[in-house]
Structures are given as C-alpha cells and as structure tokens.
C-alpha cells in the first residue's frame, strides 16, 4: 500500500516537474487477490500489486494524457514530459474551460483493514465452504472471490489534492447440476461480514430447484426480476443514457423534465452513501454530489464531469472517469428506490409468469429506446397461480428497459448491493407486468 503521504508526495513531485499551463496527476493503486474455483476445486489463484500514474496536461485549450506504471522518479519525469509532448500536438478544444478548482471533500469512513489484509488462505476457506456444500448436494460449484485494497489520489495545479483508500470483498458463486445452475453474489467492504456458506446455499437452492427445466414458448409474460437482473437494468441505462455527454451528443434517451418511466421509479446516484460502495471524489478530484436521475418517473438529471459541465455552463456533479475518456461521465453508485413488497408478495401476485434470477450478455439493440437483448441465466422459473411451480429453459428477451421500467407494478422493500467491477448498484427486486421474451435456448 502506498499510503496517503507517499501518494500525495508522488503527485506533487509530478506537478512540480510540469511546465504546462495546467496539470492534473492521477494515481491509481491496488493490492488485490482473486481465487477462482470450478468443478469444486480451486483452479486459478492470483495476486496483483499495481500502480498507475496518469498525467493530463493543458496548454491553452490543448489537452493531452500520458500514463505509466513506473512510479520511480525517472518514470514520473518521463510521463510528465510525454504528456506535455502529446499536448503540443493537440488541436485547440474551444469547449475546454479548465481543470476543476479545489473544493471541500467529505470524509467517508468505509475502510476495513481486515478486508485489505484478507489473504489467499481466507479466500480458500470461503471457497472450501461453497465447494463442500455443493459436493454434499451432488452439485458442482464455480466462482470467484476477490479481496483487495485500492487507492485513488488526484492533484492538480489549481490546488486539488485528494486521497482515498478503500477495500472491497466481492464474491460470486455458480452451482450446477447436470441440467441446471444457480447463482449468488455478495459484495461488502467488510470481509468479516462474508458468510460464504449462506452464499453457497443460495446458489445451491436455485440449482436444485432448477433441475429438469421445461420448455416454455417465447412471448410476453409478467416477471418478477431478482435484484441481480434489476442491477443489470440500471447498469445498461446508465451506460446508454445517464451521462451528460450522451445527452449532448443526442444519443441518450433522457428527455429532462419528461416522464420516461413509471411514477413509482426513482433512481439516484450517491457515492457518499455507505450502503453502496462509497468514494468521496471523482477521478478529477471533484467532490461526489448526490444526483437525482429519475424522480417519480421523470427524467431529472444526468452525470457531469468538468468538461461536459463546462459545455453546458453547469457545475460538475463529480462523475468524471479517469482521463482520457471519450465515453463521458458515469454514475458509479446508483440506487433504485425500494417499495414495500416482499419477494413472496410479488410472486403471489402473478397468475402466470416468470421468476428470473439474472440477465446475461445484455447488449443494446436500439439505444434511443434502450432496447436490450440478452438471456436469462442461472435460475428461471415458471410462476403459476401465485407460486413458483417449475424451472424453465433459459429465454432470450428483446425489450426496452425504459418500457419495462414504465410497467413496474411492485418493488421489494429489501435491496441488494451489486458491483460489476467498476460501478455499484443497490436495487430491490421488481415485478413487471409484461416482459417480452423473443427466443429460447436448449438449457
């Protein structure tokens, strides 16, 4: 671990070497390990110690970026020089206003040393628990358990100087029988809160219940979507439309001030909420701000970084990704407002429909309508007269996520935290009155 003092000193060393009009230095470091298992045995087990320095320099209206993993004095000097050279070749960008000025940054106390120090022996214990339970049930387990500590430090020549260390444990397990599979995942900043056996039992229960799936004709069905599937919906909606750049370029479905989802849907981004995966500032050192994206179905706001904010004459919301970034700002800590229902009440309300564990390989078909195609995976079940009656083979859907979010009839009170490797969502399970399934596969 580099630590705050060393990280900020490294940034200042780089800033001192730069002769550009403005300079930003971003340090990303990690010390992580990941244990993978399949067929009830660990087959891959890795560790990574990594540090990357990204230097963004500004000469007038020209901006350039260079990066290196060599954070020695020589490496720092070289990357600063490379960034300056690159910037000289840039054309002027009239929309660029400035790197962001310093602002007060909130403190987020979310660092668990136990997670940072969790070693391969601890991950092996988790894997052993899941594999043993699966073997006892006559099933085969696969999955990945990752623990690590991560550091972000950013400083610029205008006075920004920020440092944040975090630690995260991410676990997912897929348990299979000859004819079925079940899935479970768990994310926490506190590795001591991990209950690997509970994770294994959740996946095993789905795998057992999913055996010998029946054929079901494609068509439109009411669905209860587990929170894993709902998390995918928010990930895709954010990717396609919740960025100011997408809106500026006309490729976003967001029509600010208009109703684009059901009145029971509110989505916001809050990186300071400790029930998510918090981070107090973005990759430009701008403090993270609460962002209402959808409020009671109305398109309310999009994520800004300093560049897109400058174009619109607005303030950055603190959603910059590391430069260079042509995709634009991104909300990395989304929440979907829960409802009052229990999962059981949602299932009980369906006369004939489907219970879907998760979506897989989802891709946009028509971005402006947020039409997505993908598969169900790891547990798809038929609901008949309010009860889960039997498993069905996985189905392909082709559905507008906007339309689906306009047909949400119930939301669960319970929420689950999901993490896709770079962004978190905390979402409930939902019941959608109709969801369009367009194909079926053989398992």
């Amino acid at each position: 671990m580099l630590g705050q003092e060393h990280s900020l000193a490294t940034l200042q060393q780089a800033l001192a070497l730069s002769t550009a009009d403005q300079t930003e230095v971003l340090l990303l470091a990690q010390d992580s390990g990941l244990t993978r298992f399949a067929n009830n045995a660990i087959h891959q087990n890795v560790a990574e110690t990594n540090a990357e320095l990204r230097v963004r320099t500004v000469l007038g209206k020209r901006v350039g970026v260079a990066s290196t993993h060599d954070v020695s004095s020589g490496g720092i000097a070289r990357v600063v020089e490379t960034a300056r050279e690159i910037t000289r070749f840039q054309a002027e960008n009239g929309d660029f206003k400035s790197l962001p000025p310093p602002e007060p940054i909130a403190t987020v106390a979310a660092y668990f040393e136990c997670t940072a120090q969790w070693g391969p022996e601890g991950r092996a214990r988790w894997a052993a628990a899941v594999c043993r339970l699966a073997a006892e049930a006559g099933l085969s387990a696969a999955g990945a358990f990752q623990t690590g500590r991560y550091e972000v430090a950013v400083a610029n020549s205008l006075g920004v100087s920020a440092y944040y260390a975090s630690a995260l444990a991410e676990l997912n397990a897929t348990v299979m029988s000859e004819s079925s599979s079940g899935y479970a995942e768990f994310v926490s900043m506190d590795a001591n809160s991990v209950d690997a056996e509970a994770l294994g039992r959740e996946a095993i229960e789905r795998a057992l219940r999913g055996r010998q799936p029946a054929d079901l004709a494609p068509g439109e069905y009411p669905v209860v979507l587990e929170s894993y599937a709902v998390g995918d919906m928010l990930d895709n909606l954010a990717y396609l439309g919740f960025s100011a750049l997408a809106l500026q370029e006309g490729r976003s479905f967001m029509r600010l001030g208009e109703r684009i989802m059901g009145g029971n849907i509110s989505i916001w981004d809050d990186a300071l909420d400790r029930t998510g995966v918090p981070m107090p500032f973005d990759y430009e050192g701008v403090p993270k701000r609460h962002l209402d994206i959808i409020e009671d179905g109305m398109a309310q706001g999009v994520a800004y970084d300093s560049y897109t904010a400058g174009r619109d004459g607005k303030q950055s919301t603190g959603h910059a990704l590391p430069a260079p970034n042509s995709w634009g700002p991104y909300p990395m800590n989304q929440f979907l407002e829960p409802g009052e229902a229990t999962r059981e009440q949602m299932i009980a309300s369906v006369d004939r429909g489907l219970l879907v564990t998760r979506f897989w390989y989802t891709r946009p078909v028509e971005p402006l309508r947020a039409v997505i195609t993908g598969m169900t995976r790891d547990g798809t079940f038929l609901i008949e007269r309010g009860e889960v009656t039997r498993p069905v083979k996985n189905l392909r859907f082709t559905e507008s996520y906007l339309d689906a979010m306009s047909r949400v009839e119930m939301l669960s009170r319970a929420t689950r935290l999901g993490y896709n490797g770079y962004a978190a969502t905390r979402v409930p399970a939902i019941k959608v009155s109709s969801f369009r399934f367009t194909g079926v596969t053989e398992h």
């Binding site: 087990n45 990594n50 970026v65 690159i86 054309a91 214990r125 990752q146 390989y361 598969m375 082709t398």
Partner: protein, 481 residues
Amino acid sequence: MMRDMYARALDVARGGGASYADIRVVRRESQTVATKNGRVEALSQGDDLGFGVRVLVDGSWGFASSSNLNGQEIERATRLALRIARASTRVRLAPMEIGQPLVITDSYHTPTKVDPFAVSLDEKIQALLAADEAMRRVKAIGVAEAGFETLRETKTFASTEGSYIDQVITMTGGGIEALAVGDGDVQKRSYPNSFGRQMGTGGYEIVQEMDLLGNAPRIAEEAAALLTAPQCPSGVTTVILDATQLALQLHESCGHAVELDRVLGYEAGFAGTSFLKPEDLGSYRYGSEQVSIIADATVPGGLGTYGYDDEGVPAQRYPIIQNGMLAGFLTSRETASRLGQASSGAARADGWNRIPIVRMTNVNLEPGTCSFGDLVSDTDEGIYMQTNKSWSIDDRRLNFQFGTEIAWEVKGGKLGRMLKNATYTGITPQFWASCDTVCSREHWSVWGTPNCGKGQPEQIARVGHGTAPARFRKVRVGVLG
C-alpha cells in the same frame, strides 16, 4: 542482469517446492488517437511494465504479479505465489498437470513495414481529421469519430524447464464511425469494422491501406440514409452475412465454444461453459459440409498472430471444424493434458498481471469457391447484412442474436432497398448447418476482434477471424423489442 533476476525467481520457486514455475516480464507501449467532430478528443500514450510469476506446487497453481520490476519485488512476488499455491491445495480434487516439459530458446518479432511509433502524431491526427471532416459534410451526421491505436508488447518468458523466449508483438489499427441523428432516430455506420477499428499485427501500413478518407463519404451517406430506411422485416428467410459480421458470428458461436477450458467447466462461474463436450471430438456435426474452420496463430497480419503463446508453446495452425465435423479444441498445456494431448499453443495472458488462459488465436473460416456477385445472383430472396451493431449469446454458446448496422433486401438475385435495425437469431449448430455457400479467397481477409473479454480478473484478448461472405438458409430475422 535482468536474466539473473528471472533465474533467481525461478530458483526461489524451486526452493519453495514448485514443481514448475515461469516468469513473464511484459512491457506494453500504447498510443491512441481519437478524433470527434473535427477535433482531437483523446490523445494518450501509455507505458505499462511489470512481471508475473506462476508456480505449480503439489499440483495447484499460484500467481503473483507486480508493476514494480526489481529483484527484491520479484522475490517477494515469487514467495507470495508460493503461498497462494499452497492455499490452493486446500481445495483440490486432483493435481494439475501440464504434460511433457518444453525447452525452447528463441525470439520472435512481428514483421512491420512502417513503425507505428515512428510516424509523427501530426501525420496520424491529420489523417483522422480529414476523414472526420469528410463525414461531417453529410448534413445528418451528428457525431463523426475516427481513431487510431497501436500497441507494442515486448515480452520475455522464462521457465524452470529451461525455456527463454523474447517476443515483440506489434498491433495497429484504425477506423471511422458516422452517427446520424434525426427523425427521432440514431443510426451508425462504421468502416472498416465496428468496435471503433480494424486491427491486425503489423505497422502503420495497416492504417494507410484502409483509405479512411476515401470511404468516409460513403459511410456517412449510408448512416444518413438509414434514418429514413424501412425497418428490417420479421420472418424466416435467407441471410447473407458480410465478412465482418461473419467474423463476429464465428467468434461468438465457434471460437468460444471450442475453448477447452470452457468445455471443461473452468469458466462456468463467469463466461460460461460450452455446448460441446470432450467426447464430441471427431464425432459431433457442428455445421454443413461447407464449414471448415482453422485455428491459425501463424497467419500473416492476423490480430491473433504470434511466435509463442504465454506458456512458451509455439504458434500453430490446425483444424477446429473439418467439413462440418468437430476436429479440435483451443487448448493450454493444462487443459490439453486433461485430454492426453499436447497444447495447441492458445494460452494467452492480457499483460504481466494476468495468467495465461485459453484464448482464440485467429479462428478462420476457410473460403469456398463462389464470387460474391454469383452468390447474390443465386439468391432469389433474402437479406444481406453488413457490419455488427449488437451481439448477445447464451452461456453455452447456443442461442445467439446479432444486429447489424445496415442491411439490404435481396430479390431476384439483386441487391435492393436498404433496411435498418436488422437482426437475426438462431441456435449455433442449426445455424452453421444451414450454411450452403462461403465466398472465395478473393473476398477473404482476416478481421481483428480487439475486445474479447474473458476470465476473472477480466482479460481482454486481441484475436483474429479470417472470413469471406457466406449464405445461410431459413434464418429468423427482424427480432424487435
């Protein structure tokens, strides 16, 4: 000096109980230029150097990597790899094996005509901006983008078996995209391929040969025309796929399905498994007689071309599908030994901080004998689809759905009106069984897929697919949400 450090790591590994160990030191230099609407959107240069040590202890793997390349850190990482391997042994069924020892001392360099790092940034930027401007002359174009990317990987592999291999792999690519906005719609066209670029192993000559400027007006006009083009109809019909779309079809429904780690369940927790089983080898009908697929890590210019894989196994060329029958898998040393085979040289790592896993090389569909003109003339009714827009396939690689940027009606042996939002869907072996014609070698080239994700932590592989246009019968098209 460096070689001594690598030897020291291997000695530490042996001394710590490793029956096998290797160290890879990888430097990846990169340069990207992206223009958008007349200005340089991103200009970046990266230099990524580090090492990874892999050890096999009592039949279990451990791996540790670091960006801090010095003797002390190499020794620390080696000891951590040993500790990780010992932790792995706690959840083990049978010991991992890697087959017969391999001892190779050699070096390999990608042949390049024009060093992509030696060409001035100004020349690259001007080439992209010229194409960008040509696209924006078409009124409906809201976003015009052009991009250039080059990577140079300098890597050393050393193992306790005695191998020592140096390689320099150079990859270069570029492309343009025009996004038309209007009439409540957004439509995109790309050239030469989607994913922002076409890429291969080689130098700047790859980009020079693309003629981005010459193709810019055409794709911009096509994007604009798509805004008012009719929707692709729904139904079951004949489909002709252009070579770029077929490359992705091949990638998703064949390339991944024949990765032996997927077949053996290694990827069940993330990317998924395969509908194929080890015992299918030689007896499973994957496609029609017209379908022959070769894995070829030696084809000149392919994005998946190299001298040795990241286990030090030589690049190879061998059949995957022969006249429709399953003939081979993509393998690593460990997975191949599970079948009593030698590795096919397809274990690749995405840099110093990742372990080698089974990846595609260049998975190529062998060309047939028909010209594209004759193929269209021979088609009474159908749809010709070009350039991938969306892709999705299930976790066993059976049910897929693809969308293309543009399509054309085929009627009476001629290309007719333009269609938008074309999609098609199917089940892998049924789809390849419906292939009745593959176009000839004059229409065949190797397309790069620079964004293949797999593994945990995720690894991005750069792989290639040699394809020519091909025809498929009774395909379901026009799936809409």
